[in-house]
Point group: C2
């Protein structure tokens, strides 16, 4: 059983964080546990001090033990250091964060097991120092404890200046997604911070409680002890009130969690969802890095005490958006900075740093050596609409059809070339640029406006690399499969001069083009394609050689080439863009999804100066009259800029990226194990596991690139309900008859190994 | 001359904020000014302590004066209080924030004037206490000083716990949009916070400087003084280094500001903009409440020292998005909370609190008594595409055309009814639902799919209220104008039973409908309209009676009614929705813009259970297969929920809203001045001014409602370049031949009066 380190209905857990050191955290912990011990329903109480410095002179656990003095209380300290300083300088040999968190999780889980299923248990986890004080490794504590996202009691500061430190600490916790049901501080009649804070937090879901300050501690140990005892007695009712409020808050939270499934089923209309088929709603309480923390109501069991939170590996990368993982404090702070500096501001004929910075970054990155202009919009679909408008007008200009009426009069229909199985979004313009498929089948205003080439696709089966050439392409009019020694040999750009397939592709494409170009019925305005990998169309890996030939042939006919890089952009395929892996530049390209690291919607359409110039004219209507209210919203632009900087850093420095690359390299050709030629194709997924999966009898084929792979559908439910060796579930989403698994750019190798292991197990056991 | 309270190239301004009280803010100020005084280029130095408590025992200005001891230094304290406590408890008669800020601005402006245009001047503004410490009024200082957004020197804490308070203070400043070029703190060999912080901020644009701690202060006044003198001498080089870094930062900032116009012109492709016509780029450095702070490069003058920042009233409400004003700390914190708790998470078959909370709030608000389902998307245009897909399929189901092929086989074209001049967005589906207009004129894939009714419009001219009935509607086939005693008499729902116009409208609409319904060529899938006010189409106020009649007539034909409330929703017209003012409920409605208070993109389409049920079926393709990657992104949902809560609060409690309502009420009919019947139509704009403008000879007509009004175009440049009596410019955007002025929901009456005054002046002087 996993996830026992999260609260349940009957087992309450709180962590205490303080606005500064020496504000009485331990005193408050003791006061709360002391009155909790008098509760008849409480079966067990626990106090956990993960890190104690100044030990053994100071021991907060000992203090709590002494003043609570109850058989049902267990206290525990995990790491002790003698120096009375911050944990990061208290030791020369800091344990790593993973181990510390693991010990914290284990202890809490044990407490829950000890408490049993029916008893009402409570645990207080007491942090050290202030909210942003570092742990042994140097990680700020508010970041370190974030995976648990425990409800937080903030110990406020009643001294001069304490209003500021209390509010700032509150904000530091909030921007990391913590809920703070209560702020506790001492009464102080001179500064009266309590009163100010109560007014300040009036509209927040946070209650402020003040308690009399403890007696001064300047007497003999015995007298001090007696004074404190008296103090605890005299403040018992106050602590009782706090406990009552926390208890109410806890039950309201669980009431809400338990009601969410039904309410969602009644009020939400989900995208892409046949509601009739939905059996189970995944309630996402929060998320961190690659994990969704879900609340799993045990429907078969009336005992709500068994309700569990659980960590699920987000193997759909939340619709392919995740680059820097969920709940990144860095992105949260970036978003709030831009929100605080601008909110949203008007953009046409205006400029602001986030928009210009991002534009420059894009033009030096994905747009390098081809693009000069950036057009902002909100999502992949709108970016594609913009791209189509750019291309269609350009094509007219290039063909010197400047008179609007002449094209209308010819009655020619404006079409695009594309690839069968492409997907470009769900607004009507983007839909019309795709061939008939499941998405547009019943949409009344959908009208296919194009010709879509069947494309050869790449597979790995039984450890062999192959390209399937569809019947329509091959001169013999038969379906053919070509085998290759490696993925690199398929992706190698030399293929364009050496491969036998070039001629086959060229002849096929020229035949099709000649039947359309110069037609009196049609005018072709663009070629639009997803480089290398077709996402929503079923994670199909297209032979890059075919796309290269197609692009060259289309370009000869003055038709602009659009790359839809919404899915493939920003290192999704291990390269800055699909174009980089393909080795071809577009005239127009669209980007979204990963651009904001996986936080908020933003999209861009990049293009060349020559395309931009087609919209320059004396008339307003010559311009691209397209826009959205939040065009170039500073929050999105600044978050995107921060994310792209981070991707660049990962590409340069990440050990995990280098490890993955090394693992896909052909080491046999290198002289030593540590030196190797960087592979063209690489992935976070283990090469050996990919091969092993490709050998399994019930797997049709495997595709892997960057951070995506697919497998047969029958395993998705199994992944959902099982636990990996690292104690998490796997949240994958089916895509038609394909199940894909996708990571973020910061997924840890350990977690990928655990996912792979579980995947193989599930495929093997599936029928 | 205005805006002299902002830095210029030659006049540097910094504010010091501290992580807590008593960290040596004044010492650092003195140290910096002391070395600055030795700079030969420095013409003037200034030290401003806006608020001093503990006076006259403590006087930070005196301390600075004493130790800088330079003729070119001017020090100033604006407010002094005797008690050595937080300013909010130091006085019983707190001055209001506006006056305090005004005095701060005046002092800084005077300093700049004293400095002259060529001298290099510097000013340090020293705050009191910590970043979130309150001012006299109780406003947190980091919020109070935000309109100036001065570059900030953060004084860090070198003591135990100081890492946490320093980082948390940094974060509190960042989430309010401050730039922090430097953090200064004392060296401390025991805790070594300096070292940790330098590593922590490695990837930020913030430098960490440590200075030796000052000598202990326990001797005679004379010795203390001498020790400090020695201290300043020995640390002079350190302070010099800090000054140098600040100086570099300042010039990089101004280099950037000065380069932004050219770079933007070269790299950005603006929405809705004919680039050839752009003469001037507005560089938005930041924004707060209703103001854009712009950087205005003086192109005619080589003296960059004259470059000015300026506050511009955002009279286009940044494309009508602004509800809670720019740079709201509340929204910034809300955004960062959701970002920190979730980032983005997958939505289909899932749920999370922000999405469910917002859905519930919407269904109890704009959706009350009609809607049961919420579908999320990214902007108004996508929300309209979703609405159209919902309506079109519903119409088929309602007409029992269940077989997909039967509609295709009939060859019927699917159309919508609408109103001429409507605008619903720029994706092809949304465009197709609008009649031919300037926006779609040159879009190749645009195809008008509908019939659009000409509509009667409301005007105010020469103080008279009238409705213009187009020729096509009136039975006499002549254009007619009907006059009304008040706007309320036009908007009164009684009109539906009493007005002579009902019959005219009914007959006209029935005639049109009968020519289409049952046609073998067309099938009508929806009526789509913007209730009351057509925004992008030219801010046209439609006779509500006409829309009421149209809705009733269309409904009789089983055609679903879509309200596009992207512009009119959420109190833009003084009502929770356009529907509320119209007195009619839709079957489907779209909302965006104001939903997030004006921060980030988010849109919703609301509808009824009966429409939802048309998409329930055994096939996946029966579902609404529409979605965007960031569907229901938690950040947007949580910000939206926070904004809607705030609007509700304003509606209940806002003095300014009540003032505006009272001002539009018909007081003559009430017995006393204070009691009045709440008007149906009300606006932030002054009723008398609106009338006065309507009398001006060069004004064709005025429309005012909620927070929008329009005027002749010739005045927009004049508004841009002039200053109001409150010392700000006005940023308005033309819309075709209409200029509209729009506020947020929190605009202060003073500012509106200043805008009105300037507007009248500009209209009068325009030709």
């Amino acid at each position: 059983m996993s996830g026992l380190y999260f609260p349940t209905r009957s087992f309450q857990i709180y962590q205490t964080f303080a606005a500064n050191t020496n504000l009485g955290k331990t005193l408050f912990s003791a006061g709360l546990l002391r009155v909790a011990a008098t509760d008849k329903k409480a079966s067990r109480l626990f106090y956990l001090k993960p890190v104690q410095t100044g030990y053994p002179v100071d021991s907060d656990a000992r203090f709590v033990d002494k003043f609570v003095n109850s058989k049902i209380l267990n206290t525990k300290t995990l790491y002790c250091y003698e120096k009375p300083v911050s944990p990061h300088i208290a030791t020369d040999k800091p344990p790593n964060d993973k181990d510390v968190l693991s010990r914290v999780k284990s202890f809490i889980s044990e407490c829950q097991i000890q408490s049993g299923s029916n008893g009402e248990g409570k645990l207080i986890l007491e942090t050290a120092g202030g909210v942003n004080s570092p742990l042994m490794s140097g990680t700020a504590q508010c970041d370190f404890y974030r995976p648990l996202r425990l409800p937080t009691i903030l110990i406020g500061d009643s001294k001069l200046g304490g209003i500021s430190t209390t509010i700032s600490s509150f904000e530091a916790l909030r921007l990391r997604g913590y809920d703070i049901p209560a702020i506790l501080l001492f009464h102080d009649s001179e500064y009266n911070n309590f009163q100010y804070l109560r007014e300040y937090f009036r509209n927040y879901d946070t209650r402020i409680h003040a308690i009399s300050p403890p007696p001064p501690k300047n007497n003999t140990a015995e007298t001090d002890h007696e004074n404190l005892r008296d103090y605890f007695s005299s403040t018992a009712q106050d602590f009782q009130n706090i406990l009552k409020q926390l208890n109410e808050w806890h039950h309201i939270r669980f009431d809400r969690l338990e009601s969410m499934e039904k309410k969602t089923m009644k009020k939400i209309w989900w995208p892409f969802t046949q509601h009739q088929r939905v059996k189970n709603v995944t309630i996402i309480d929060s998320a961190h890095s690659d994990f969704l923390t879900t609340f799993n109501k045990n429907n078969d069991n009336e005992d709500v005490g068994q309700a569990q939170m659980k960590e699920m590996f987000d193997a759909c990368a939340s619709w392919w958006t995740q680059g820097l993982g969920h709940g990144s404090a860095k992105l949260s702070l970036a978003a709030s900075y831009a929100a605080g500096r601008y909110g949203h501001v008007i953009f046409p004929e205006c400029t602001h740093e986030p928009a210009l910075d991002l534009a420059e970054k894009l033009l030096e990155g994905v747009g390098k050596d081809w693009a000069t202009r950036v057009f902002y919009s909100d999502n992949g679909s709108t970016a594609v609409e913009v791209a189509l408008k750019m291309a269609l007008k350009t094509n007219l200009e290039r063909n010197n059809i400047r008179d609007e009426n002449s094209i209308k009069q010819t009655g020619k229909e404006f079409l695009v070339f594309g690839i069968e199985g492409s997907y470009h979004g769900d607004t009507i313009g983007a839909m019309d640029a795709c061939g008939p498929n499941v998405y547009n089948d019943k949409v009344k205003w959908y009208k296919p406006r194009g010709y879509w080439f069947e494309a050869p696709t790449v597979h790995i089966k039984n450890g062999m690399y192959s390209i399937d050439i569809p019947k329509s392409i091959h001169p013999d009019n038969t379906k053919m499969t070509y085998f290759f020694p490696s993925l690199d040999s398929i992706f190698n750009q030399d293929q364009l001069t050496t491969s036998d397939l070039v001629k086959i592709y060229e002849e096929h494409i020229r035949r099709i083009l000649s039947s359309f170009i110069g037609s009196s019925e049609y005018q072709f305005g663009a070629l639009i394609l997803e480089p290398i990998l077709m996402g929503a169309g079923g994670m199909k890996l297209v032979d890059p050689l075919f796309q290269r030939v197609l692009i060259d042939e289309v370009r000869r006919n003055k038709i602009p080439v659009i790359f839809d890089e919404v899915f493939t952009g920003f290192w999704r395929l291990g390269y800055r863009s699909g174009a980089d892996l393909l080795g071809k530049k577009p005239d127009i390209a669209t980007y979204a999804k990963l651009i904001t690291g996986g936080l908020i919607p933003l999209a861009v359409t990049l293009t060349t100066e020559s395309i931009f110039e087609n919209f320059i004219g004396s008339e307003k209507t010559d311009a691209l009259l397209h826009g959205h209210s939040y065009t170039a919203h500073p929050t999105g632009c600044f978050v995107a800029k921060t994310s792209l900087d981070e991707y660049e850093r990962l590409n340069k420095n990440s050990l995990h990226w280098n490890l993955a690359k090394s693992q896909w390299a052909d080491h046999e050709k290198s002289s030593t194990a540590s030196s190797y030629k960087e592979p063209i194709v690489w992935s976070f997924w283990d090469k050996k596991i990919v091969h092993r999966i490709s050998h399994l009898p019930n797997v049709k084929g495997v595709v892997t690139l960057g951070y995506a792979s697919n497998a047969s559908q029958s395993i998705v439910n199994e992944l959902y309900s099982s636990f990996t060796s690292n104690n998490f579930g796997i949240y994958a989403r089916p895509l038609g008859n394909v199940v894909y698994l996708m990571t973020s750019h910061v997924t840890l190798p350990d977690n990928i190994r655990a996912v792979e292991e579980k995947l193989v197990e599930c495929i093997k056991s599936s029928k």
